[in-house]
């Protein structure tokens, strides 16, 4: 008989090792899945993890790693603050959409003015859009005790409908021959979030992602508020005695995660995507939840996890075009990763022992 024995303290070694173990397990079971789909598992896994980094066309794919990783890291950093304190914002996808709409809306309002202040204003508007969208569940939770999980998630569907509405109406390109979607911000210089070094994939969103990692690291390790966040998550009763103000914490955590998700959306719409359209959002807000957990809710971990997840996106696309691997297979692959991570976390908090048989 096997019994679990709760560790007095979570194991440090296992907490670093579980993400790696989970990745290996996902590769094995993902390979199995690809084999069932009739693909060579070794080739498929190789294509996903090797090709974008060291393959023949890696000069094209490596910059993509930054482009895809930046929104994931930005959103996940915000989410991780709340998750640590037991505040579950799972509507980042909606905040991402609202950030994009607000940011692009401000940019398009200035069209075709060529002024230096257009882009900074768009950044502020994007962050505001995400923030205000996250403030709805935050306010309702503080004021009425409403469950923030359900409210933030419902708001994703509302935001998606709003996105459809503006891309067919308010923000539609007047010179677009009646097609849905806004003007392309890439061809409007004052609003374009262009690459800072041509061909590197480095745009302002990537910079913001790195800054957010540093900001979160400092906050969690050197600031009273960060201490309160960690305390609330790890020992809620002790947090009460330490004078933590829960409403303030809720407003802060949801606000920051909303603003960061909004920024991610704004940088995406003004850069890599360029256009506000019905299918603008591709699920970064949900994948970022996996990134946050895979990174152990730790800023540095999230940076690494964001890179890994971006790799599966890009590698997945390559495998799709070269091996005919269905896009959904990558989605399953990413979901699997979260499963294994949560399962192996058992080893962080519990010791597995063979029970001595004794008479109870």
């Amino acid at each position: 008989m096997i019994v679990l024995e709760k560790r007095p303290q979570p194991s440090k070694a296992w907490s670093y090792a579980t993400p790696l173990v989970a990745v290996v397990a996902t590769m094995v079971f993902g390979g199995l899945l690809f084999a069932i789909l009739g693909k060579n598992p070794v080739e498929a896994i190789g294509t996903i993890f090797w090709e974008p980094l060291f393959g023949e066309f890696s000069f094209y794919y490596r910059p993509q790693l930054l482009v895809k990783g930046a929104p994931l890291v930005l959103i996940a950093i915000g989410l991780s603050l709340g998750f640590r304190a037991g505040i579950w914002n799972i509507g980042a996808e909606g905040q991402y959409i609202m950030g994009a709409i607000f940011g692009a809306g401000v940019g398009l309002a200035f069209y075709p003015l060529d002024a230096w202040y257009v882009f900074p204003l768009m950044v502020i508007a994007g962050a505001f859009g995400g923030w205000i969208w996250a403030m709805i569940p935050a306010f309702l939770k503080v004021r009425f005790g409403t469950n923030e999980i359900l409210v933030s998630l419902m708001l994703v569907y509302v935001a998606e409908q709003f996105l459809a509405s503006v891309s067919l109406g308010l923000l539609k390109n007047p010179e677009g021959f009646g097609f849905p979607g806004s003007r392309n911000l890439q061809s409007y210089d004052a609003a374009h979030n262009a690459e800072l070094i041509a061909g590197s994939g480095m745009h302002w969103g990537v910079v913001a992602a790195f800054v957010s990692v540093i900001f979160a690291y400092v906050l969690l390790n050197r600031h009273m508020l960060g201490f309160h966040i960690r305390l609330t998550g790890e020992a809620p009763r002790a947090a009460k005695f330490a004078g933590v103000n829960p409403p303030r914490l809720i407003l802060f955590c949801l606000g920051v995660s909303g603003a960061l998700a909004g920024l991610a959306g704004m940088f995406e719409v003004s850069g890599p995507s360029g256009v506000v359209s019905i299918d603008f959002n591709v699920g970064y807000g949900f994948t970022a939840i996996i990134v946050a957990f895979l990174g152990r809710l730790h800023p540095i971990g999230i940076l690494l996890a964001g890179g890994l997840m971006a790799l599966t996106y890009i590698g997945g696309e390559i495998a799709q075009s070269q091996l005919g691997l269905p896009a959904a297979a990558i989605q399953v692959f990413q979901g699997m990763l979260l499963f294994f991570l949560l399962a192996f976390d058992l080893l962080t908090n519990y010791r597995i022992r063979a029970a001595r048989s004794e008479v109870a």
Binding site: I90, L150, Q161, F293, A329, V332, Q334, G335, F339
Partner: protein, 306 residues
């Protein structure tokens, strides 16, 4: 705009159809939460149920077999949640999210070759005399059999929780798992059974969407119904008959906004389509004042240390 085209009898009849997937999923989740477990993976289990039911009924030509497969598919997925939360003692919120993300991917993968196919129809029941009654007939006695299964399930769960020993034990486990454990009840075993039941119900609800309500397969077709079902359980303050009432209320809103879209009301389509989600939020706000009815052990991890 032509509101006169909306037929009230058809409206009420289609309201019941729109409410059934919600009801099935919510009644399953109600049992799960009564046992003290919060499974946020309802959306994932529904969509997997939707595709497994669809695939099996297309392959075999029998919608009945499809529904059986859907229940099994949903239960199978909930088994993953069981492994994570009951045996690996993982956080229930995170595990539920994992289940939904995984289920959405899996269903898209399984459903690739089923896009654009029409599933075999189940047909509506016909009871002589009753079904032919004017007004009442089309509203109450001309539906597909699964709709009645949903109502029967609600009654069954109500009776089970209220009058049977099994229901009493289930509630004890949900209220205080340590006390239930001390009395010798198998907390984990009871919760596993409740979760499997919840998964099967969610699967049925999903298949109802893909086989009867729409009927077709498209990726992500449950579109948040699983999440609304979770809200519905709170709305109903964990009471079966209130769940039925709530489901019909939400079904009514869905059908009404679709009818208004068709009638060409001056409100843009997108804003009408938002309404079920916004109303869910409003209902949650109104009801969140009273949390006293929630099972006391809801969402807490059970680990028997002795």
């Amino acid at each position: 705009m032509n509101l006169g085209e909306i037929n009230p009898i058809l409206l009420i009849a289609s309201l019941m159809v729109a409410a059934t997937p919600l009801l099935l999923a919510a009644i399953g989740e109600l049992v799960v939460e009564k046992a003290g477990v919060l499974n946020l993976g309802v959306e994932g289990m529904m969509i997997v149920g939707a595709i497994s039911g669809f695939a099996i009924s297309v392959e075999t030509g029998s919608p009945w077999l499809g529904f059986v497969a859907a229940a099994m598919g949903g239960a199978l997925l909930s088994l993953l949640f069981v492994l994570l939360t009951q045996f690996a003692l993982a956080n229930q919120v995170a595990s539920g999210l994992a289940l939904t993300l995984f289920g959405l991917g899996l269903s898209a993968l399984l459903g690739q070759s089923y896009v654009g196919i029409k599933p075999p129809s189940m047909g509506d029941i016909h009871i002589p005399v009753l079904s032919d009654l004017p007004v009442i007939g089309p509203i109450l006695f001309q539906h597909d059999p699964i709709l009645y299964v949903g109502i029967a399930l609600t009654a069954g769960v109500w009776a089970m929780l209220k009058y049977t020993r099994a229901g009493l034990i289930l509630r004890a486990v949900g209220e205080n798992h340590d006390a239930a454990h001390a009395l010798g009840y198998k907390v984990v075993r009871i919760r596993v059974l409740a979760l499997l039941f919840g998964g099967a119900c969610a699967g049925l609800g999903g298949a109802y969407i893909s086989l009867i309500r729409v009927p077709q397969w498209t990726e992500g077709m449950t579109a948040g119904v699983g999440w609304i079902a979770l809200a519905l359980v709170v709305f109903a303050s964990w009471k079966p008959w209130r769940t039925l009432l709530g489901a019909y209320l939400f079904g009514g809103i869905t059908v009404l906004q679709l009818n208004l879209q068709a009638a060409g009301v001056a409100i843009p389509v997108e804003y009408l389509a938002m309404s079920p989600y916004i109303i869910t939020i409003l209902v949650l706000v109104i009801l969140s004042a009273d949390k006293s009815r929630a099972p006391a052990s809801l969402g807490r991890i059970f680990h028997a240390s002795h």
